[in-house]
């Protein structure tokens, strides 16, 4: 019965400690998302610096014969020697230049090409969209690696070839993503307003639609860089690049070719692989940080789990009940 339970203001719950902790929660959350970005940025910065200053940092010429073959790490050669008697550390440092250069260049090219085709298809619609769409889907469906190999086999090995074949086999996925984003942005009111006020197509695309896609473009760019580094390493591993140049991928190629595995020479393939993994992981962290900032739902979910943990509430399906006197 409604009248029997009378709550006077003084009996209302006193200020609970949790209210003061809400500010703490916000700060903590901000820090965490920054932490990821920080980690990613620091690692990437380290690698970039190493690549830029490689000739200075490297302990000598990576292609020179400096010691006996397949020597394990020692004080003389920190990462040991390759199957050709070259210094592994020198190779890792100098090799970063090509690997990172190709990775970032191809990543950029893929993003740009994908943007060009995806936005055109998405904005123009109609026949142009239909045609571009089929074109994109065909490139999506035809398997990338076999196509890459086939193309690379016909062209002279080298950085230009690699950049070219990687770009034309990988633009389809970002194109698809950008197209669907453009499609949904095109329907928005502010675009309609620009169209009605007579703005040119190019202006609309660059000043209205593109800025609203920026976070997607940024994440896509980083994702493409990760893919490009991996694909380049893969191509080199298979022997389709100029195996006389030093890069992380060719290091792995030579390691496999010199049967490092059968000789137990793990130091010839672990360092380059680890480097690729670190760069990929750091970049992934960056993407996560960008995602979190732009996607509010992810933020709420993190908060929910951390708050539930703080109250020691195991997440069951039914609504949890806590009583004040028990807290």
């Amino acid at each position: 019965m409604s009248a029997s339970m009378q709550i006077t203001p003084s009996e209302k719950t006193p200020a609970r400690p949790e209210r003061a902790q809400s500010a703490q929660l916000e700060f903590f959350r901000g820090l965490l998302s920054q932490q990821k970005a920080l980690f990613g940025i620091i690692i990437l910065a380290i690698f970039l610096l190493v690549a830029i200053f490689a000739p200075v940092i490297s302990p000598g010429d990576p292609t020179r014969y400096v010691g006996r073959q397949n020597q394990p790490p020692s004080s003389e050669h920190w990462l040991g020697t390759t199957g050709q008697g070259q210094d592994v550390l020198a190779q890792v440092i100098v090799g970063s230049r090509i690997s990172l250069l190709v990775g970032f260049t191809v990543g950029l090219l893929i993003t740009l090409l994908g943007l060009a085709i995806g936005m055109t298809a998405g904005y123009l619609g109609g026949f142009a969209d239909g045609l571009l769409n089929v074109f994109t889907n065909v490139f999506l469906i035809i398997p990338a690696l076999p196509l890459l190999i086939t193309l690379a086999s016909f062209l002279p090995p080298g950085i230009v070839t690699v950049t070219f074949v990687l770009t034309i086999t990988s633009w389809a996925w970002p194109a698809r993503v950008f197209r669907s984003q453009t499609l949904s942005l095109r329907e928005k009111d502010f675009v309609f307003a620009s169209v009605v006020s007579g703005e040119g197509t190019f202006r609309i695309i660059f000043t209205e639609i593109l800025p609203n896609m920026m976070s997607l473009v940024v994440s896509s760019f980083f994702g493409n860089v990760i893919y490009a580094i991996g694909a380049d390493v893969g191509l080199a591993f298979l022997g389709f690049e100029n195996v006389t140049t030093v890069s992380w991928g060719t290091m792995l190629y030579w390691s496999q070719n010199n049967s490092a595995l059968l000789q137990g020479a793990w130091w010839t393939f672990v360092p380059p692989g680890l480097c690729v993994a670190l760069v990929a992981f750091a970049t992934t962290m960056l993407i996560y940080a960008v995602d979190e900032i732009t996607n509010p739902r992810l933020k709420t979910e993190k908060e929910i789990s951390s708050v539930l943990k703080k109250f020691h509430i195991t997440a069951r399906r039914s609504t949890p009940v806590i009583h004040e006197h028990a807290a």
Partner: protein
């Protein structure tokens, strides 16, 4: 105050629900108490965000994180749902209390046929398959859909049919209490009337008690026995339906009634309620309605009013009384 001769079917006492947000805990329901007696239709009216749906979901403990029930009791037929564990809740739900959600469009599983969603709950409660199927047919007859539509998928039915299908599912286990959470808001006016009429007939036939939640006060007029008005997580008025309409006590209730046009009544000016709903993280001091109240007095911003019986069976939480 009248003491009902039989024990209340549903007795909600001092229910409190909070939502944990980044800005701090938000009190969505702050000490709500009311009863539903057997055979009654209790209407719960208020703006969106006043906490009415939260109460409905809290009764069945189906609120999602970050919701947290922080106090009170929900006594149904002698048992407190807030004290039940998962297993007890599983067997308690639907057979005693069932609920019809706001938009049936989203309440039905898109990949299951309607029949399967209707009989699965029956089978879980021990009905053998053929009996469940027979009952499904009977239920569809009862709510007025051709039983052939049982084998349809939800996307193949119209909005009104889906809402009726959800209603049929809600009646599957013959519950004592049916909660209707804005059952007609997502439908057009003609279909609205149709469904409400159906529900009224069903109530007679099946002897249901109903908790009817809505923001549309006008719907409650013909339909409810008793009406509760909610504002900012609290109940501010509680009266039998006709008495509320003839003599609204709380200024908020008065404001609500003045903001709805009446098709049949005389023409009058529509006035909204000035201001906007309060920020529930830091609600106004004293009476939560005082910043928007045309009858506010100095005491209103200092002390929160208590729910008081102004006449037999009619209570309000307002310093005017």
């Amino acid at each position: 105050m009248n003491t009902p001769p039989e024990p209340a079917l549903l007795d909600v006492r001092d229910l409190r629900v909070e939502y944990l947000t980044a800005r701090g805990p938000v009190g969505a329901v702050d000490g709500v108490s009311f009863t539903v007696n057997p055979g009654e239709v209790v209407g719960l009216a208020g703006e969106s965000g006043s906490g009415k749906s939260t109460i409905a979901h809290a009764i069945l403990r189906i609120l999602r994180p970050p919701a947290l029930i922080t106090g009170g009791e929900v006594i149904f037929a002698g048992r407190d749902t807030l004290k039940m564990d998962e297993a007890e809740l599983e067997s308690f739900r639907w057979s005693n209390i069932s609920i019809v959600f706001q938009s049936a469009m989203n309440a039905l599983n898109p990949v299951l046929r309607v029949r399967d969603q209707l009989i699965d709950v029956m089978q879980h409660h021990g009905f053998p398959k053929d009996q469940a199927n027979k009952r499904a047919k009977d239920l569809f007859d009862l709510i007025g859909i051709d039983p052939q539509r049982l084998d349809a998928y939800p996307h193949e039915l119209s909005g009104g049919m889906r809402q009726r299908a959800v209603l049929a599912i809600a009646l599957a286990l013959n519950p004592d209490l049916l909660i209707l959470d804005e059952p007609t808001t997502a439908l057009d006016v003609v279909v609205q009337k149709d469904i409400l009429y159906k529900i009224a007939k069903l109530r007679e036939v099946l002897g249901l008690s109903i908790l009817f939640i809505t923001h549309d006060l006008s719907l409650l007029v013909e339909f409810s026995t008793r009406i509760l008005i909610m504002y900012a997580g609290e109940i501010v008025e509680n009266a039998p339906a006709h008495e509320l309409f003839n003599q609204p006590l709380h200024p908020y209730t008065v404001g609500l009634m003045n903001s709805f046009p009446s098709i049949s009544g005389e023409k009058r000016r529509l006035t909204g309620i000035p201001g906007s709903p309060p920020d529930m993280v830091a609600p106004p001091t004293g009476c939560r309605f005082h910043p928007r109240c045309p009858k506010a007095m100095p005491i209103c911003s200092q002390t929160a009013p208590i729910m008081k019986a102004v006449s037999a069976d009619h209570s309000a939480a307002c310093h005017l009384y």
